[in-house]
Symmetry: C2
Subunit: 483 residues, 2 copies
């Protein structure tokens, strides 16, 4: 009766081979993290070298896991920039900590899709639980409800989508923005230090990049609220409709914090959405002493911060908190027949954004919070900030160097100031950056402030100790004197 | 000189504890997959039970991994719907296969962010390599360039964003859609069987849900091209501008395939974007004999299919192929100073969408392709389709049952047809569904076709054998006769 092909290749790989490969992966992961400091932190790979080392066509026959893992060790692992390296002080330092890696491993084995409560009760409820734990840890009030997205880019995109959705009287969800004379130009505001994800969100939402107003900043790189007021007034006078302001708490260049209480006042007065992008600095609010810097964020309509940035959780894990979860749901919910379920009163995570598929990201965050404890997380954040401040003191004391922005957290913007034109100073700093990064022991990044090239050193990696920061400073000075 | 706090809690968890926890996780994963069939496939959890089993506040002190993993085993694992269960035949079956789980484990340990080539050369190049391997495996021509997104929802969103971006003369990226009398209403077309992600994309892009035209389907649930023609003509006559048509190759309800060659003709004639949503069925194109069903997709501007759906790769892994990668880049690229890098001629994956952060998703897909080989993947897809067809034959032969749609792949839409009104038939099928799902041995889902409730059985899980499909059929008949 059977019409099946006689198939020798069915099922998963044999259980014993899987178990052995997982134990091998456990050791590969543990070995890697014990020895990652021996790699050059910035990859020394030539463009194209990885592809060239691998067959251009897929294999016809199955290969044993042993062979695949050998290639992994030989070709993949060495050709990475090592974000786990204690000398990684570029962008924002991150760590996929032990508890987080264990969580990701198990999430991959479970392989549930938490689109509906019914398709994954524990994943849905653990996401509700850990986002509430995090809310408590950072001291946000109860009305805030969180969920997990992949990235802050998506979290901010969703927040601005809700801001657009709630514009009264226009029914943008149903009717859109185009071809409607009654819809005015919609404008969004952020400082000129805001993250590029805000630009991308505004473009993607069809608002137009030119309708994102980049408000100038003060001497400490914080949004100038008088300019914000003026921009909103000018837009209103021109018949445009301001819909949202994005305040950044911890800008990408300098980690400056916009004046949140004053911006919250403007948002309330103007009736516009306040989104706080705290992707990096929001994590620091686990320490009560850093909450003062974020004061006012509790008045936002939405807040994003990323445990995958500075809370030791493997990428990706971004938290979006909104005050009005029903509004979020009304912006996105759409339940086709095949996803209708009998349960009532439960959260279906698919309602909270554009993605139907949802990984079990809560598992790793739950393990991180338990694995370190609130106390352990606070101690680590404090250490990183102390290391940043200490580095800034060294720089400030050193002739021929300057710290170019305040250091509220663990990130320092600085530059060498050799005699010469601004352009020659930029070139000198660019050379210092290249030399330090070529050392393989430290990886720094750069930015531009007031039109000048600036170096950035940030501490956010669990493996980074004072010794590594000292080494970075020695390398920087060495590079400067060779410059 | 040090200003550091004396911090006992610094660094990651101790290396020995991490290594032991990873080996424990390896065994937990292997045990789980060996015994997953012993769980009820659909969770029997009461809403709120998981949260109630865990503390409402985060722990102050660190907990040992052993305690965390014990809670995982006790509270998390049993309170899931088991997508890995061989009796999971709802929605679309998926499997996070052994090689894929190993890949995710290592990706979590590496924890790189492949936003730029420089921040992760191997992750970037492996993504280019495996997406090209997949292009070859499914027989798409060379101009197609792929990249990996989290979900098909995001892949389709990006595709439609590019379609909107390329509308000539309007500079939508810079100027947006709102407040511009010169911008007509923009319209998008798909069949009334298209996935809800298309609705969400159109809403999110600011096009307006009402401007998504749901084209009726023929008897086999395929888009009616004459109706598409008519809808486009009517929109043009009304001054609206059609920008894209989404053809579905493997609809979510019945896995019907829209007439791709005819739709491609329309798209070419009208100068509009053709996006093919092949999230499920695109994977079947690894078998040459299924490519005939997808013929015409090679004329698309963009195509999505998901290895996390039917190619044994853990969620999330969605492939978006575009014909004109420069156009994709011009829709999204935005390089702030702090992400400027010296390399030229390399791919920076951040340019391909709204997300800056990018997990190393290529690693798992690379391991899956190698772990099964092209031949092994084909055999498994063939087996799943053969099982689906065989089940459909059983149903067709059984008095009191009917197959309600063609079965091109591994998914069968069917229903019991007891004597009575259509409403009483729906109620009977709803009861059958509930009884089968309550058994804990099989999980089916449902849909609605021509206004009637329909049951769906799909085979996509590596653990599902003929015996499981036979058991499902026995349970269904039993439930029907008890009904």
């Amino acid at each position: 009766m059977s019409t099946l092909p006689s198939a020798p290749h069915v099922g998963d790989i044999p259980p014993a081979e899987f178990r052995a490969a997982m134990h091998r992966a456990a050791d590969l992961a543990a070995d890697y993290l014990e020895h990652v400091g021996e790699y050059p932190v910035l990859a020394r790979t030539e463009p194209g070298a990885v592809r060239a080392a691998l067959p251009a066509a897929p294999p016809e026959r199955a290969e044993p896991m042993e062979a695949i893992l050998a290639d992994y060790k030989r070709i993949v692992e060495p050709n990475l920039t090592h974000w786990n390296h204690p000398g990684f002080m570029a962008y924002f330092g991150i760590t996929g900590s032990g508890p987080g890696i264990v969580g990701e491993t198990l999430a991959a084995a479970l392989n549930v899709n938490a689109m509906l409560w019914r398709t994954s009760p524990a994943a849905t409820e653990l996401e509700e639980l850990v986002t509430d734990w995090m809310r408590q840890l950072v001291g946000l009030p109860e009305p805030f409800r969180g969920h997990i997205n992949d990235t802050a880019s998506v979290s901010s995109f969703i927040a601005l989508a809700v801001a657009r959705h709630r514009v009264p009287g226009l029914n943008i969800r149903a009717k859109g923005l185009a071809g409607r004379p009654e819809v005015p130009g919609l404008t969004v505001y952020c400082s000129d230090q805001a993250h590029s994800s805000i630009d991308k969100a505004v473009i993607a939402l069809g608002l137009g990049h030119e309708n994102l107003r980049k408000i100038p900043v003060d001497d400490a790189f914080r949004m100038d609220v008088a300019s914000l007021d003026a921009a909103i007034a000018a837009d209103r006078a021109a018949g445009r409709l301001p819909i949202a302001v994005v305040a950044t708490a911890g800008t990408t260049s300098t980690t400056s914090v916009d004046p949140l209480p004053a911006i919250a006042d403007v948002a309330r007065r103007e009736g516009i959405w306040l989104h706080v992008d705290a992707a990096y600095a929001g994590n620091a609010a686990v320490c009560p002493e850093y909450r003062a810097l974020l004061q006012g964020w509790e008045r936002a309509d939405s807040i994003v911060f990323n445990p995958h940035k500075w809370l030791f959780t493997p990428v990706d894990c971004s938290l979006l908190y909104v005050r009005d979860v029903e509004l979020l749901r009304s912006a996105f919910s759409l339940v086709p027949e095949y996803l209708r379920t009998p349960e009532t009163g439960v959260t279906n995570l698919m309602d909270y954004g554009i993605q139907l598929g949802r990984r079990f990201r809560a598992l790793k965050l739950w393990m991180v919070i338990r694995g370190f404890g609130a106390e352990g997380i606070r101690e680590r954040i404090r250490l990183h900030c102390a290391l940043g401040r200490e580095f800034a003191e060294w720089v400030a004391r050193e002739p021929g160097f300057e710290v170019v922005a305040p250091v509220p957290f663990s990130t320092v913007c600085f530059r060498a100031t050799p005699r010469g034109s601004p352009e020659s100073q930029d070139a000198a700093n660019e050379r210092i950056l290249a030399r330090v990064n070529d050392s393989g022991r430290v990886f720094l990044s750069h930015t531009q402030l007031r039109g000048r090239l600036v170096l950035r050193l940030t501490v956010g990696n669990l493996r980074t100790t004072r010794e590594h920061v000292e080494r970075a400073w020695a390398l920087i000075r060495e590079a400067a004197s060779a410059s």
